[in-house]
């Protein structure tokens, strides 16, 4: 899922020092001493809740950027601030360099119509419209002609695997099917970014897995930028190119799944990722050590992106250490000891790549 050019191109969303405070006189809170109070104390003293606190991040073109955190950590608020469905209290948001907070109503509508489309946890479908008309709704809002929008909607319905159900109403669909309609509705307007707010939380585990596959497939086929909110760590690890971990409105760590699992920023994150099967997230790049005499020649060769679980298999088969090779150069080796240390979660000094 990683795109080679992801680090080089300009960010789709660039967020700097974003605050969202709910409550009376909210604009006085950001930057003031009150902002450092605990949530209860702040509420008692000012009646305000800080949902997003001084958050900064970039979403790069073509990546899946996952925002993860427990319930109430401010994820939904954050993603709604991106298109100003919730008006931010302070900070800057730019979409491809354009200032979002400075947009007037028409510009904002244009942003919502063409550039960022959202998929919601509770679907948000119009119950009185058929599947096809729901999918075509975004285009209808834009003023697209009937024949054209219906054709495009039919294409999208096909794409999300709902062919044959065009005439049904949302009430006659299962939860998973309804969310496919939500997804198709967002895709139909051909947005630059897809925003997902816990889209699969209301679905049962099997359907959820199906839908995750669907998103992975779409991303692979179209390479669309996605911001994906979830409270489910395994979902975050499956989908995310990068993950931002939120707690009490703050981003406590932002990095690749491997960074989050391999080097948690603090106790909170460490707790969070404790039960993750590390060998399925970490790669040999993180597990290897420098080769000592002779090791650089023999043994099986692995690419640095190989998962530890796969390396274990290779090492077990060959009986000796395996080489990590990139572009014909040996970066280091992994042996039983290093691999077991990863599985056991024992910190080993990292080798510079």
């Amino acid at each position: 899922m990683t795109n080679a050019d992801s680090t080089t191109s300009a960010p789709v969303f660039s967020v700097r020092n974003l605050w969202k405070v709910f409550g009376p006189k909210a604009d006085r809170i950001p930057g003031s001493p009150e902002a450092d109070l605990s949530a209860e104390e702040l509420r008692a003293r000012t009646g305000c809740t800080v949902a997003v606190r001084d958050v900064s991040f970039d979403v790069r073109k073509g990546e899946v950027f996952v925002v993860m955190g427990l319930s109430g950590s401010g994820k939904s608020t954050l993603v709604r601030c991106l298109t100003r469905l919730i008006e931010p209290t302070a900070g800057e948001i730019a979409i491809e360099g354009e200032d979002v907070r400075g947009m007037d109503r028409a510009q904002l509508r244009d942003l919502r119509r063409h550039r960022a489309a959202m998929v919601f946890q509770h679907f948000g479908l119009l119950p009185h419209r058929t599947v096809l008309d729901n999918v075509a709704y975004g285009l209808e809002i834009q003023g697209t002609g009937k024949a054209e929008r219906r054709a495009r909607a039919a294409e999208m319905v096909e794409k999300v695997g709902l062919a044959g159900l065009e005439g049904r109403r949302p009430g006659q669909l299962s939860g998973g099917q309804q969310q496919r309609v939500g997804l198709a509705r967002a895709l139909a307007v051909d947005p630059e970014v897809l925003l997902f707010d816990e889209p699969f939380s209301a679905l049962d585990p099997l359907i959820r897995r199906d839908m995750q596959e669907e998103v992975i497939r779409l991303h692979r086929e179209e390479g669309r930028t996605m911001v994906f909110i979830t409270h489910d760590l395994s979902e975050a690890l499956r989908l995310g190119d990068r993950i931002a971990l939120m707690r009490d409105g703050r981003i406590v760590q932002c990095g690749s799944p491997e960074e989050i699992v391999g080097s948690p920023a603090d106790e909170y994150v460490r707790d969070f990722v404790r039960d993750v099967p590390r060998e399925q997230v970490l790669t040999v790049r993180r597990a290897m050590r420098p080769a000592v005499a002779g090791e650089a020649q023999g043994g099986p060769a692995l690419s640095p992106a190989t998962l530890v679980s796969e390396a274990i298999e290779a090492v077990a088969r060959s009986g000796g250490p395996a080489r990590v090779v990139e572009g014909g150069r040996c970066l280091g080796v992994v042996d039983h000891q290093r691999l077991l240390a990863v599985v056991a979660g024992i910190e080993t000094e990292k080798v510079a790549a």
Partner: protein, 657 residues
Amino acid sequence: MSAVTTAVAKPDAGAVHTARQLLVRHRGLAKLVLLAVVAAVVVPMVNSRWGSGSWPHALTVDPSGSLGKASNWIIDNRDSSPVFLYFFGYVSYGVGYAVRAVYLVLLALGWTGVTAAATLLAWRFAGLRVAVTALVSLALCGALGMWVPTMQTLALMVVAVLASVVVGALLGLAGGLSDRMFRALRPVLDTMQVLPAFAYLLPFVWIFGIGVPPAVLATVVYAAPPMARLTALGLRGADAGVLEAVTSLGATGRQRLLTARLPLARKQLLLGVNQTIMMALSMAVIASVIGAGGLGDRVYQALSTVDVGNALAAGIPIVLLAVVLDRTTAAAGARLGSATVERSGRGWPVWAGIAALTAALALIGRLLNSASWPGGWTVSIAAPVNSVVGWITGHLNSGVPVIGGTADWAAGFTTWVLDPLRGGLQGLPWWSVLLIVGALAWLISTWRTALTAVLAMAAIGVLGVWSVSLDTLSQVLAALAVTLVVGIAVGIVAARSRRVEALLRPVLDVFQTMPQFVYLIPVVALFGAGRAAGAAAAVAYAVPAVVRITTQGLQQVDPGAMEAARSLGATGRQQLRQVQLPLARPALLLAVNQGVVLVLAVVVIAGMIGGGALGYNVVFGLAQGDLATGLIGGTAIVCLGLMLDRVTQPAAATKER
């Protein structure tokens, strides 16, 4: 109460302490004690100054003089003042013109065309069964010789309902989109909903005189509130998630309203239309007193000469009209929910077909030269019904062995219940009535509510109709007691037996759709004219609602709690007494509140059949052109309604609504 007051008065520290504990624990007691203390201070003062009899004359203002002058001024200036010429005049003219136009269209369609149109529309909106009902109903209207008055009522209804729906929807739109508007509208709509229809008539007569325009306008004012209320609630209740999704796609405010909010609220909108139609019919019939004409007028004329046969002949079409209108609109609402009807594409050919068929049948009627219902096809039921009524008067009214007779019952009810109650109420010192009203309202709700109730009651005294109003109040209380006993008992039985409920449901459905006015017909046949007959009509009108609310309340009691009680081995009776009734308390309170509102509505209309009291003041005012008396009576009815509603409306319910 006295025990607690003495406990507080005692200087003994222990007793004071326990009393305080008692008060803290029972907030009701605390309120009563506070009230008792206030009363102990105020009452002697008031008493020494104004005495303890009926409302003191010194505290009344007699507005009839100035009202009389005002109405004389209106009569003198109706044709010359610019306000009347350029505003009320045009309104009156426009409304009258619209009703005439609709009436002419109905006449032009002839009975064939109207019947075809009604049947086809019912079929389109509600399916075959309702279509057959509509067909049979209209045929019956014709057969009873009531075709012309039915068309008159229908013409008035069409105009009034259209206006009510438009006005209500606009108000509801404002209330649904603006919080401030909603806060301002809500108490007004809530209050209008509890006021008796009769109270709405006078102001319109005052300004417009007697005739069709004031009848239509009174109907609009009476029938628009439910539409406004339901529109506002529907718009506000729209799923926030859907609206957010719509916004996230870049919809403008107007797009959001037209493609999401209104369609999402369409169930409530249709329910609003349904309620508006039913209320409009109810009012259109009552408005015969101010010259609406049509079916209501036939009933009114017949009742005033105790001609039950003719009253029934006009009453049956009213009921049929009510049933058809209710079923059609209700079924249209239910269909929306099931969402099986595919609207697009098939829509206009169906409408064109309906129009073509109607036109064809109207033409056939024309060619056969029978625009109005053929005279040979009518049956006069007046004579046979009157002979049955004669037989009832002769045989059932009195002297039936063991059970007595209906007139005996009525007389007994009047002598043993109504008279003592009225005497008792009128004998109470005026300040004690205020105190009781205040105490009741405060116990059940907040001090604001209590203040409103007391002020409403005091206003009655100030207007100088204190003892007449207590007469009305005595009838309301007597009828309410019977209503609650019967309604709650039947409700309990229905809640415990599926079979009884299934049997009752259609009966309740019909009873609840019938306009208030119609209830006067059978009670006059059975009990003759008088206060007891009025009370009987009120009971008949209010019982179905009480039964329904009680049944629903009992059935909705948490099944978990019932199961727990059963698992502890409670008998059926214990379950009812210890679990169901206490848990259904909110529903029972609501039943009382509804009962009061409905009973009052009919008790005042019974002024037309000898119920006397405030209702008679209104009727008298209308009949004699003594608008001052009528207006004061109407205002007192409003105050009484307000007071009774506030006294029976629990605080929680006020908050929830």
